[in-house]
Amino acid sequence: MGELAVILVWPALAGYLEAAVAYVGDGVRPGRLSRFAIWGVRIGWLAQTALLVVQAARAEGFPWGTWAGSLNLFVWLVVGAYLIWGCRAPFRLLGLVVMPLAAVLFVVAWLSGGAGDGNGDGSELGDLFLVFHVGLILAAFAGFTLAAGLAGLYLWQERRLKAHAPGVLRQRAPSQAALDALTGRTILVALPALTLGLAVGLARLGSDGGGFDAVMAVALLTWAAYAAFLLLRYEAGWRGRRTAYLALAAFALVAVALVPVTHF
């Protein structure tokens, strides 16, 4: 079983790397490469799913308790969420943002032992309570990563449209309106997941009598940033460039929070 986990790392890694390279190539010269890229994403994600199944079967408790294991799960969630849109042609360009990031993070998780067979000791996260806590927070962060990708794509396309780039229509991409709306909707889904994850964590903290630490402060700050995003987007009527910058700024907070949160 352990060997199987190691064997599954390779197709997952190869799929993600191939997708990342193909998306970069497609960005330079739009054409057939996006089709190869999407197959790379699918194959890589299926291999990683199998890898996670093997890890889960081998572990006695929650198998992604280490920070590297959490990173492995996080990459799987991000790519899985991307696949929901990535399969649709206009959104494939989002892969240009998501897949290189996923490939790099997966390599980091693997080199740190989070994608191998030595990760299945169940560790300290062996109860359902914490599984929900970590799972919900990671799912929320996967959503925020995608939202940042969508916001980045919005700003990139806006620059091309304003610069009157002659090839702007040759690159298949979603409309600005679609990118703007999807960024908002993704955060609208991810924030409740983060809220629930934090609530579960705080409840656990209350019962265990633990104290408030820096990790929690960053997590709450992230929550506040995205809550502000939703208020400005849906109540104050902010649109376009401003909300894209806001989503990216909030994501910078996620990036700061991600390392300690997955470090547990």
């Binding site: 449209l161 009157h164 090839g167 229509l169 040759r170 298949r172 409309s175 309106a177 649109r239 376009g240």
Partner: protein
């Protein structure tokens, strides 16, 4: 049977000649009936860029002569006068040409969408006129498939090839669908008319026309079911509209950056797309720097179209590969027609032996239950099919390699076949 194509297109004939050769819809059925004669097949494809006559006949020279005569009659010229403007292709080359036409590779702008519908229309007319037989059915169905494949497997038709369609596609890149969008038209000239028609065809809901002469604005607005006013109403309208098409004849800017900025403050970040096709320009270029504003003038749109057409040409290389693959398929099918009668005879003979032997064994089979009898029928049919499968495939393969006639003769000789053994099978069945 041979396929012959005689025709002309924008590559060979000036528009004056193409006009004369144009076959109108009411003329088409009679023309193809004359071309097909008693036993042939024919299709006439006539568009503003081409008139092509596809004739299937045992005698290709006779078919060619009939087509020449018809085209000469249409043009009012003698055959020798019209001959330099015509091209003649036969069999595989004719099929490949039709596939290129259906794939829009022979069009003025590669990737244009109308031609596939025109090919379908010509085929439908031939069917209704009773001049579509086995070869025409196969040829035109395959041509339509080539057209669909090229459009779905390449990006040849995805980018705009005119300024008005480029403007509409750029607007779609900003707003997604244009359904329900509002448009402000500045000026009531021909250019704004064209751009507006394109936008309306994509779902734009309401049109507001502003012009120095309110009377002309009203005339244009009536055409689109919209409203009209003078240019002084523009700033107020800017607060509500999504797209602005400007093409007045004014010498200075009709819309300043300050006016747009004031309107944008009230729009709460909702974007606005400006198409300025006027020369001199109507919209201050600084408008493009305002957040949420996208401004394209006629040069910007020209560059987008140029790039787009260049992209279509790149995609055309991939489309040619699809055409070549399909043409090879058609060639193999056409060659296989040489062995079809022999295969049909062989199968008919085998079936006849099977049923005769079953009838002979009728007395012994009487004791079987209905289900057992069906099993025997099925078993014998399967034996016949399995025995004949390999020779059938081999004969078709040999036909594709041009040895079909040899094999067909050998099979007829070995199995003592007569063409009467086969039922009257049509090519293409």
């Amino acid at each position: 049977m041979h396929l012959v194509l005689v025709g002309t297109s924008h590559h060979r004939a000036p528009v004056e000649l193409r006009e004369q050769l144009y076959v109108t819809a009411p003329e088409n059925p009679e023309l193809v009936r004359r071309l097909a004669g008693d036993e042939g097949e024919a299709v006439a494809l006539s568009t503003c860029n081409r008139t092509e006559l596809y004739v299937v006949d045992d005698d290709p020279e006779a078919a060619q002569e009939r087509a020449f005569a018809e085209l000469a009659a249409l043009s009012g010229l003698s055959e020798s006068e019209i001959a330099p403007s015509l091209y003649t292709l036969a069999d595989e080359a004719a099929a490949m040409h039709l596939f290129r036409v259906a794939a829009s590779l022979d069009s003025m702008i590669p990737g244009e969408a109308q031609i596939l519908g025109q090919v379908r229309g010509a085929y439908e007319t031939a069917k209704e006129a009773g001049t579509a037989g086995g070869i025409v059915h196969r040829l035109f169905r395959q041509a339509l498939r080539v057209g669909r494949r090229v459009r779905s497997e390449t990006a040849i038709g995805e980018n705009p090839a005119s300024i008005s369609s480029a403007a509409a596609e750029l607007a779609e890149r900003v707003f997604g669908t244009l359904e329900g969008r509002r448009i402000l038209v500045l000026g009531a000239g021909k250019m704004s008319d064209l751009a507006t028609v394109n936008l309306i065809s994509r779902g734009v809901e309401s049109v507001f026309v502003a012009n120095r002469s309110v009377e002309r604005a009203e005339k244009l607005a009536r055409r689109f079911g919209g409203r009209a006013a003078g240019l002084d109403a523009v700033e107020t309208e800017l607060e509500d509209v999504d797209i602005v098409v400007a093409s007045t004849g004014a010498r200075g800017h009709v819309l300043s950056a300050e006016q747009v900025e004031r309107a944008m403050r009230k729009r709460k970040g909702r974007p606005i797309f400006f198409v300025d096709i006027a020369v001199p320009r109507d919209v201050d270029p600084a408008v493009n720097d305002i957040e949420g504003c996208y401004l394209y003038d006629v040069d910007d749109l020209d560059r987008v179209v140029e790039e787009s057409v260049a992209g279509r040409r790149e995609e055309a290389v991939r489309a040619e590969a699809i055409v070549a693959e399909e043409a090879e398929g058609f060639r193999a099918w056409q060659l296989s027609l040489d062995v079809v009668p022999a295969i049909a005879s062989l199968r008919a003979r085998a079936e006849s032996i099977r049923t005769t032997e079953l009838e002979r064994a009728e007395g012994r089979l009487n004791t079987l239950s209905p289900s057992e009898r069906r099993a025997v029928e099925s078993l014998t049919a399967q034996i016949v099919n399995k025995l004949l499968h390999a020779p059938t495939v081999r004969m078709k393969q040999a036909a594709a390699a041009a040895d079909g006639v040899l094999y067909a003769d050998a099979v007829r000789h070995l199995f003592d076949l007569d063409e009467r053994d086969s039922s009257a099978r049509q090519p293409g069945e």
